[in-house]
């Protein structure tokens, strides 16, 4: 099994997810947990709350200036890329027409530490 990060992108100008969209995201996360594929997942506050650091420079906003910004990240486990893509395809963000997801193999990391 390998781990993949699913980076969820959203259009920054589209506003917050609707209640329906939030519910769909929650259902998708529950499905991933139930299937045993989910390792960890986080939804982030909107991109206008982001602060970026580059050298000594501190700037307001996301690191990369583009229409789409990262809205969340999810780490899953899958046997190969095809299986990971299949899980990613079910992410509702893929279907909303305001963003999408990127799938990247995880090279290494630290498991969430229990507090």
């Amino acid at each position: 099994m390998a781990q993949y990060a699913i980076l969820i992108f959203d259009n920054a100008e589209a506003g917050d997810y609707t209640l329906e969209q939030q519910a769909a995201s929650k259902r998708h996360a529950d499905d991933l947990i139930e299937s045993g594929a989910m390792i960890t997942a986080y939804a982030l506050q909107s991109a206008d709350t982001a602060t970026s650091l580059r050298g000594d420079l501190v700037t307001d906003g996301p690191f990369i200036d583009s229409k789409e910004v990262i809205a969340g990240v999810c780490i899953i486990e899958a046997p190969d890329l095809d299986a990971a893509l299949e899980l990613a395809r079910h992410n509702p963000a893929v279907q909303w027409g305001r963003g999408g997801v990127e799938v990247r193999p995880v090279a290494g990391g630290v498991a969430p530490i229990a507090r």
Partner: protein, 430 residues
């Protein structure tokens, strides 16, 4: 003939015909593309001296596969941590075990390796891996040429018009992605097939197109590339006989290739379709294509390749260019456009429109496409426009369009043809 030249010829022959099979079978054992490639290369190198010494084996593919697999086994034995470091293509249920290693050590392993039994599945796995939609199309094409056709990297670079350095980097990057992202080495499930098959067919079509009209260079065609594409399409058809688009692609390549010998005249001069000697076309290939098209069209909804093949076949079946069934071709183009709204298809459609409805109607459509701007680097747009203007007697505008086309083409035979049209037209009555 000496044993040395015979062996050399046999190795060259096996390289052309069996590379993909030997590699595909070796990948299964090596579970790593780079290692498998290395082992296959070594096996081919070893074959030369072994066959000179011992004679050419009855089944060269089996000999090469056994030799390459043994090298892979040796490498794995030497490096037990291999799979931990390179998790590429690992299929746990089929992992290499000692039993398999022992199996290969038996003296009669050559007998057990009948290519007929193993080729289809292994070969398909290899090509579907190279054409995985997670890889960029340029990488798919490069990997197919490198791994499925066995072309050395410098040749791949030449075929695809990039520097050797760029191509080597592109191939390395694609292999790294296959390994790091764990792109599986398998034939897609039926539900995934449409997506994956589209990539495979697209690559074979591009490969053929690069051979049919070389994007640059002195000759109009690169017959070696066209031949490889045809061979691969034929093999794919043998493996997936019920896929209408596989039939369609093979038919399209066959119809197009049937005209190969008449496309150029003395000194490599380009000969237009309307001036080609139809008696020299490969009737066998055209008949085979026709059967594929009829079967495909009967089989259900026609896809992009089948429709293109049907159009090309209509061109080829007419007794003369003028007697071509133009309205039928326009109708097929309309179906093709609704399925695949490409500006190139729209442009090609205008040629049949000019024959069915006259050059003025066609010219208006070409100019609309020109306005759209998506074909601004495409040399065939000004070339077609020039022909239409010429037929309408608008000589000066035609000359300007020919010059524009000349500036855009990189193929010498095409340049010469366009230059000839330009001077012929300038010399003619104003």
């Amino acid at each position: 003939m000496t044993a040395a030249t015979d062996a050399g010829r046999a190795v060259a022959d096996a390289h052309r015909r069996e590379w993909a099979f030997v590699l595909a079978a070796t990948v299964r054992v090596a579970q790593d593309l780079d290692l498998a490639e290395e082992c296959v290369q070594e096996a081919y190198a070893a074959a030369l001296s072994a066959w000179e010494r011992d004679g050419i084996p009855g089944n060269p593919a089996a000999w090469l596969t056994t030799a390459a697999k043994r090298r892979a086994m040796d490498a794995i034995r030497r490096e037990r941590t291999f799979r931990a470091r390179l998790p590429l293509l690992v299929e746990p249920e089929e992992a290499v075990d000692e039993l398999a290693l022992d199996e290969l050590d038996k003296p009669d392993e050559g007998q057990a390796m009948d290519p007929e039994d193993v080729i289809p599945d292994e070969w398909l796995r290899l090509i579907f891996t190279c054409c995985h939609p997670a890889l960029a199309q340029e990488a798919q094409l490069a990997l197919t040429l490198r791994l499925v056709c066995g072309l050395p990297t410098p040749d791949v670079a030449r075929a695809l018009l990039v520097s050797e350095q760029t191509m080597a980097a592109r191939i390395t990057r694609a292999k790294k992605k296959i390994s790091a992202a764990r792109i599986p080495y398998r034939v897609p499930r039926p539900a995934e097939l449409p997506d994956r098959l589209t990539a495979v067919l697209g690559v074979l079509h591009l490969l053929f197109a690069a051979g049919h009209t070389a994007p640059s260079g002195p000759t109009l065609m690169r017959t070696d590339l066209a031949d490889r594409a045809l061979h691969l399409a034929r093999t794919l058809r043998g493996l997936m006989p019920d896929e209408p688009e596989v039939c369609g692609l093979l038919a399209l390549l066959l119809v197009t290739d049937a005209r190969r010998v008449t496309r150029t005249g003395a000194g490599g001069r380009l000969v237009r379709l309307e001036e080609q000697d139809r008696s020299l076309w490969d009737r066998g290939a055209l008949a085979e294509a026709h059967e594929l098209i009829v079967a495909g069209l009967r089989g259900g909804r026609a896809g992009r390749y089948l429709l293109q093949a049907a159009i090309a076949s209509l061109y080829a079946e007419a007794p003369t260019y003028e007697e071509t069934d133009w309205p039928q071709i326009v109708a097929l183009y309309d179906r093709l456009l609704s399925l695949w709204p490409s500006p190139v298809v729209a442009l090609n459609r205008t040629v049949s429109v000019s024959m069915a409805q006259g050059p003025a109607v066609a010219l208006a459509q070409v100019e609309a496409l020109e306005q759209e701007g998506r074909l601004s680097r495409y040399q065939y747009l000004p070339a077609i426009k020039a022909e239409l203007l010429q037929r309408l007697g608008r000589t000066d505008e035609a000359a300007a369009a020919y010059r524009q086309a000349l500036e855009l083409t990189g193929n010498e035979a095409e340049r010469e043809y366009l230059a000839g049209r330009l001077t012929g037209q300038e010399a003619g009555p104003a």
